[in-house]
Amino acid sequence: MSHPAPTLHGLGAEFPSAAALLHAAEKIHGLGFRCWDVYSPFPIHGMDHAMGFKRSRVSLFSLLGGITGLSTAFALIYYTSAINYPLIVQGKPYFALEPSLPIFFELTILLTAFGTVLGLLFLTLLPRLHHPVFNWDRFKKATDDGFFLVLEAADPRFQPDASRKLLTEIGGTHISEIYQDPELEPHPSRPEKELVA
């Protein structure tokens, strides 16, 4: 039983500026890679287009949250004021649109906010406290002033040597292999796996 070898997560490269990273991303996207990502300390203008992203779907979650909020507000006011315990206050109708509007508005906003943030967490798969890219020492600069591109080994077009050469050609520096944590990630060479097989 030898110590299991760590799996390769991918190849990381550093770029000198936001502009350089943007141009590198355009080339990688043009070559048809799928499992890759760029990392920067701030969102880079035009990067979504360079990576071929469509519009973010967060707004769908906002809409769902907003609809839930509005219908909750309507149900709450109508049920409590007109059905469950109708009470005459100053001769006003049990239910009317005018006095309900502020609450409709506030609950719509509140649940839109909840929906949006839950949508963000769902789409970005956060919270996820650990990730293989954190195993790369230089990656600490990604939240400071570093611009990185990581090609993942899971990509069908990924070839360790050719991809390394590609990253050099598009201007990447400090190209390094990034490994997954052997004890955290499922690995074909782990003894349990062998027993199962």
Binding site: A20, T116, T143
Partner: protein, 488 residues
């Protein structure tokens, strides 16, 4: 030929000086300088002044729970309010604090939607201020209910009386508006903090800091697959916070406007309250930012240009409230209603004349000094002037609330309100609480929104021609006209 070229360049440089907008990050600071300079505040041992002021303001803040305990143990009668003045310092303080918060949301949401890039270095602290101000605000109506242990009756929770809340009452709208405002502001603030908390995590030198900031940053990686959703989320939250912030003070003003009391029953209230809130809020932002900018040497991030812009907003909103004050008088006269006319004459010349004229001096007269460039450019003069709106906005709420109800329709029920020592001490306590919370914030969280400030620097723009980029670009001086057009 060469000489021509040189003189042309000199003329060009001279013209640039006039035409170019001032950079939002002064002295061409690199990205790592921004990270370092902001994170250092949190990472290095706290300076002596921080300990001294935190202990002092912490002690003042302790007056809040002390006074509230006394109030709950004894009864609301320890406050000076009584028939006919049933709303006095408590509601004045509530509206005052809620109003303070509005500048934070204005900076984070409305200035974001209008693409005002200068907001980036002040939005974090202004949003923090919003949250702390709303905390201070919430204390007053919650304890004004008298029996605080029944405060949960404000929320639609089934209770033993089987009676529900009166959704036709503006006071209940207020409950929803203020609690929504607090929650959404908190979410917005935390969302903005996530990438910066990740910066603190990656710089952490101890395991504890790494874990704490790591958990708080949710494991943020700064990948573009995250940024794309993040930016959309930020935009949507800004989009919903904008009508929210306008609605909150409008709903607060409904507490008065939907009543029949002369001086309260006014359709001008919602926009007038919102303008006043922004006015008072910006004054408080400057009150907090000018000293902290000095103490932490943040002049390159919070530049004189930022202070200048905020002074102009104060001048604008101060003039708007001045217009609202005069419009109130006009409408009172134009209505021909003797009770309305009396309410306003009584404000200016009745027993509370001193409060009215303090309000006019502080809110209408003092901000006019910001017409002068000298007053906007000298931070200490600015700090002195904004103390007037800070005071004046408190007086405005006092004038609206107390002078309107101390003499209403029946002269037999007229009265005069004076605060008790509990009123005064509790208000001082909330000021202490506000500053104390802000001091904790600057110690443990990044006071400047680093990722947004980095995003507005010239080197962040991938389409600009700057020396840092490695793609073929015509070399130009860093201050060229072309660049200022791209970044301004």
């Amino acid at each position: 030929m060469r000489a021509d070229n040189a003189s042309a360049q000199a003329a060009f440089a001279k013209a640039s000086d006039y035409l170019e907008r001032q950079p939002l990050v002064a002295n061409h600071r690199p990205l790592s300088w921004i990270t370092d300079h902001v994170c250092r505040i949190v990472e290095q041992p706290a300076p002596i002044w921080w300990w001294v002021s935190t202990i002092v303001f912490g002690a003042v803040a302790a007056l809040t729970p002390a006074m509230l305990t006394y109030l709950v143990a004894t009864g609301v009668g320890v406050w000076g309010l009584n028939v006919p003045v049933c709303w006095a310092w408590d509601i004045t303080n509530f509206v005052f604090w809620i109003g303070i918060g509005h500048a934070g949301t204005l900076i984070s949401a409305i200035l974001f939607l209008t693409r005002q890039k200068w907001r980036t270095s002040i939005n974090r602290s202004a949003e923090a201020m919003t949250i702390f101000a709303v905390i201070c605000a919430g204390i007053f109506p919650a304890f004004h209910v008298g029996r605080i242990w029944f405060a949960w009756f404000l929320f639609p929770i089934p209770n033993a009386n089987a009676i529900w809340q009166n959704f036709r009452s503006p006071l209940l709208w207020d409950v929803f508006a203020v609690s929504t405002y607090f929650t959404v502001s908190l979410i917005f603030w935390y969302l903005g903090l996530i990438p910066d908390l990740a910066s603190l995590r990656d710089r952490a030198t101890t395991r504890f800091r790494q874990m704490a900031y790591g958990i708080l940053s949710l494991g943020w990686r700064g990948s573009n697959r995250q940024w794309t959703h993040y930016e959309k989320t930020y935009l949507i939250l800004a989009g919903i916070s904008t009508p929210l912030v306008l609605s909150v003070h409008s709903v607060v003003s409904f507490d008065f406007a939907t009543s029949v009391v002369p001086g309260w029953h006014t359709t001008i209230f919602p926009p007038y309250f919102v303008a006043g809130a922004i006015f008072g809020g910006f004054a408080m932002v400057l009150t907090l930012l000018i000293p902290f900018r000095e103490l932490y040497g943040l002049h390159d991030l919070v530049t004189d240009k930022h202070i200048d812009n905020m002074c102009k907003i104060i001048l604008l909103t101060g003039s708007l409230v001045g217009y609202a004050y005069s419009m109130e008088f006009f409408i009172a006269w134009y209505s021909g209603n003797p009770f309305e006319i009396y309410a306003f004459t009584n404000r200016a010349f009745g027993p509370y004349w001193w409060a009215y004229w303090a309000m006019i001096t502080c809110n209408v007269a003092a901000p006019q000094l910001f017409w002068f460039k000298y007053c906007r450019q000298n931070p200490w003069v600015v700090l002195a002037i904004v103390m007037f709106p800070n005071t004046g906005m408190w007086f405005e709420r006092f004038v609206i609330i107390v002078t309107s109800i101390h003499r209403d329709f029946l002269p037999s029920s007229w009265g005069y309100f004076s605060p008790t020592w509990v009123d005064i001490t509790l208000f001082i306590g909330t000021i202490g609480l506000f500053v104390f919370l802000f001091l904790l914030f600057v110690r443990f969280l990044p006071i400047i929104n680093m990722f947004e400030v980095k995003g507005i620097t010239p080197q962040a723009d991938p389409h600009a021609h700057n020396p840092g980029s490695n793609h073929a670009a015509p070399t130009q001086p860093p201050h060229s006209l072309d660049e200022s057009r791209v970044h301004a």
